[in-house]
């Protein structure tokens, strides 16, 4: 593809993360959002806001779906009908059947559909994948992942289970995808969730979830998600143990730059801190743009997006019913005691 012509649907938090990455690749982007925020976002990056979805998609080679989850299915089908490849923010959908339908529609049209599982592009997780698949941990036995960030009260739909799936689906799907990427298909899921689980969510709302995944390989994974009180920094951790040792990560533990003294609470405002290097969103979009242009398959494909939804939906079912949910008939994985 010599020219990237992108329709960005939505102008919220993820659209804001994607747009600079598209812009850096030289894409021409038309931004459409029904909430009136498109003009400001587009102007910030020298792109164009348009007044309708049709106008955005007209002539687009790629549609980037950055809208609430319950709209992904319909918008993706419209994008495919318009002849565009699709980057769809995670989760692909709230129900596995919808995600399968999206993947099938894209495949039937000869178009590519990629889910925005951006955590695969974060350096620590990419390195973890290289370690695990390269055998550095030997045979993996047990893994745990945590993900903590402030409750997403900036956009009210996150707190609505019917729109986002709640913390188990919207937030914890990140680590469900990572666990499956690392340790293979999941045969059994058990989950709990607790806290503020309905809309509207007040500014100081808190919610947590936990899920235990059992993989066909025998690996067991614990995932903990926290939608935290407002002044909580974003943080992810993992710890994996195998016959070859352990690996652990804490995203707050070793920043490239941190502020360790200030004159007053605001003195440090404007000094960038944390991790430097390419934004994982930019890495993601560059790799996907290459694939849209006919390049090699990226590290994440439509089947991964569908499988992640299947695991997350099973976790939501488990939390609702109080039962562990079997995803496929377990083949009695080696290493699991009778």
């Amino acid at each position: 593809m010599t020219h990237l012509d992108v329709a960005l649907i939505g102008a919220g938090g993820i659209a804001r993360a994607h747009l600079p990455a598209w812009t850096a690749l030289g894409a021409r982007v038309r931004v459409y959002a029904p909430d009136g925020r498109a003009p400001a976002l587009a102007a910030e990056f020298g792109q164009t806001a348009v007044a309708s979805r049709e106008e955005a998609m007209d002539g687009a080679t790629v549609v980037d779906v950055c809208t609430p989850t319950d709209t992904h299915h319909e918008i993706t089908l419209a994008a495919v009908a318009a002849g565009a490849h699709v980057l769809c923010e995670k989760p692909l959908a709230l129900r596995a059947a919808d995600a399968e339908d999206m993947a099938a529609a894209a495949a039937a049209a000869g178009l590519r559909l990629y889910p925005g599982h951006v955590v695969r592009f974060f350096p620590a997780y990419a390195m973890l994948h290289a370690l695990v698949t390269g055998g550095a941990l030997g045979r993996v036995a047990v893994a745990r992942f945590t993900r903590t960030g402030r409750y997403p009260t900036w956009s009210p739909w996150f707190a609505e289970p019917a729109r986002s799936g709640g913390i188990l689906v919207d937030q914890m799907i990140h680590d469900m995808d990572i666990a499956r990427w690392l340790f293979g298909e999941v045969v059994r899921v058990h989950a709990h969730q607790r806290g503020h689980l309905t809309a509207p969510a007040p500014e100081d709302a808190v919610a947590t979830g936990t899920a235990v995944l059992t993989h066909t390989t025998g690996v067991i994974t614990q995932i903990v998600g926290v939608w935290a009180p407002p002044a909580t920094p974003f943080r992810t951790t993992f710890h994996i143990a195998g016959t070859g040792g352990t690996v652990r990560h804490d995203s707050l533990a070793s920043p490239g730059l941190r502020i360790v003294g200030t004159a007053d609470a605001n003195a440090a405002a404007g000094i960038p801190v944390g991790d430097f290097g390419e934004s994982p969103y930019a890495t993601q979009i560059r790799e996907l743009a290459d694939a849209f242009a006919g390049g090699p398959e990226p590290r994440v494909g439509p089947a991964d997006g569908v499988a992640a939804v299947r695991i997350a939906a099973a976790a939501a079912d488990s939390a609702r019913t109080g039962r562990a949910v079997e995803l496929v008939t377990p083949p009695a994985p080696e290493g699991v005691p009778a």
Binding site: R139, V140, A141, V142, R144, T146, T148, R188, H190, H192, R194, G195, D204, V206, A207, T208, T210, V212, T214, G218, V219, I220, T221, Q222, V224, V226, A228, P229, T232, H239, A241, G242, T243, G245, T246, G322, R323, A324, E326, P330, P333, G335, V336, P337
Partner: protein, 350 residues
């Protein structure tokens, strides 16, 4: 006080001996007559190395009428020694898990109650000063209501030094039996003795290496309590055997007004050790075993009810036994509601 350490089967026996042998207020006795005669880390050989008096006969040690007895035999052999110690009038500190069956645990509690002696379960982690501060913050409401907890208690595979830990009969199970109870006990403190309501567990034995034993070496346990709080626990023996420290215990409490992390065994000093070619790890934090023994000795001295008591041990054991049922069924297991068997929930001294 005359304090008897009964059996060297558990590695903690040696720790307790080392903490008590030089005290002026303690006359220490040890006994390990069931030890394999040729094991240099058991019986008279260990007692001699530790420089403590040794009695090679159960009848003889109970005839000496110890004031307190510390039972550090294999898990399934706790009951016989606890019952004998109680009958001999000794207050008892029993290694965790209290027993491997609810029947045994109940019998031990009843035997001590009948004999009028205290029964304390050896849960040292609740004695950490940092945990006490966390407990206060939860209890006084400054953290707001507790939403959920996640924690890990990982360690070396103990079968390397004590093979019975891998014997289903003697140990009652593997990592789930050995390690779940510590975090379950911290929850017991935070939730004021509330008995867990439901348990889900998954496990495997990938980390072996002693596959003959057949016990699980990695486990994830999810515990839900009647108020709705849940605890997600990693109880695996996943600390590599060549790691410079045995393992650790960490707990994160998510509450409505804050998130607090507790590390029971914080690293005091790091660095690199060129002689062993591995990272340096000098432990910090309180001596939790010493704090726990202070509590036990005080109960021996005063006769007051110990904390944590036998009921706390039983509540933790119920979580573990439900976890094993869950491992068999692949489903969460509901615990029976037992509102009346928690007399220790409110301490008389409070």
């Amino acid at each position: 006080m005359r304090i008897a350490v009964l059996s060297f089967a558990h590695v903690h026996a040696q720790t307790y001996v080392e903490l008590l042998r030089d005290r002026d207020d303690v006359e220490l006795l040890t006994a390990d007559p069931d030890a394999p005669p040729d094991d240099p880390d058991r019986g008279a050989a260990l007692a001699e190395r530790l420089g403590v008096p040794y009695v090679d006969d159960w009848d003889a040690v109970f005839a000496l009428r110890p004031d307190g007895a510390m039972v550090t035999s294999e898990n399934s052999r706790h009951r016989e020694l606890v019952e004998r110690a109680a009958a001999a009038g000794a207050h008892v500190l029993c290694e965790k898990p209290l027993a491997t069956t609810e029947t045994d645990a109940r019998a031990m509690i009843d035997a001590c109650a009948r004999a009028g002696v205290g029964l304390m379960t050896a849960y040292p982690v609740r004695f950490a000063a940092a945990f006490a501060a966390l407990h206060r913050a939860v209890a006084d409401g400054s953290l707001g209501p507790l939403v959920s907890v996640h924690g890990s208690n990982n360690g070396w595979n103990p079968t390397a030094s004590r093979p019975w830990f891998g014997d289903r009969e003697l140990a009652g199970g593997g990592a789930v039996m050995d390690h779940t109870v510590h975090i379950a006990d911290l929850m017991d403190v935070l939730l004021d003795g509330e008995q867990a309501e439901e348990v889900y567990a998954q496990a495997n034995d990938v980390l072996g290496p002693d596959t003959e034993t057949g016990v699980e070496t990695a486990g994830l346990v999810t515990v839900r309590y009647p108020g709705g709080a849940f605890a997600a626990i990693d109880c695996s023996w996943s600390q590599p055997e060549d790691h410079p420290t045995w393992g650790g215990l960490a707990l994160t409490c998510v509450a409505e007004r804050g998130i607090v992390e507790f590390d029971a065994f914080p690293r005091l000093l790091g660095g690199f050790d060129s002689t062993t070619a591995r990272s340096r790890w000098e432990p910090g934090g309180d001596d939790l075993d010493a704090a726990m023994l202070e509590e036990f000795l005080d109960t021996v001295r005063t006769g007051r009810r110990p904390r944590p008591d036998g009921e706390a041990g039983l509540r933790g054991l119920r979580v573990v036994l439900a976890a094993y049922t869950s491992l068999r069924t692949g489903q969460p297991v509901r615990l029976p509601v037992t509102p009346d068997d928690n007399p220790g929930r409110k301490h008389p001294a409070e």
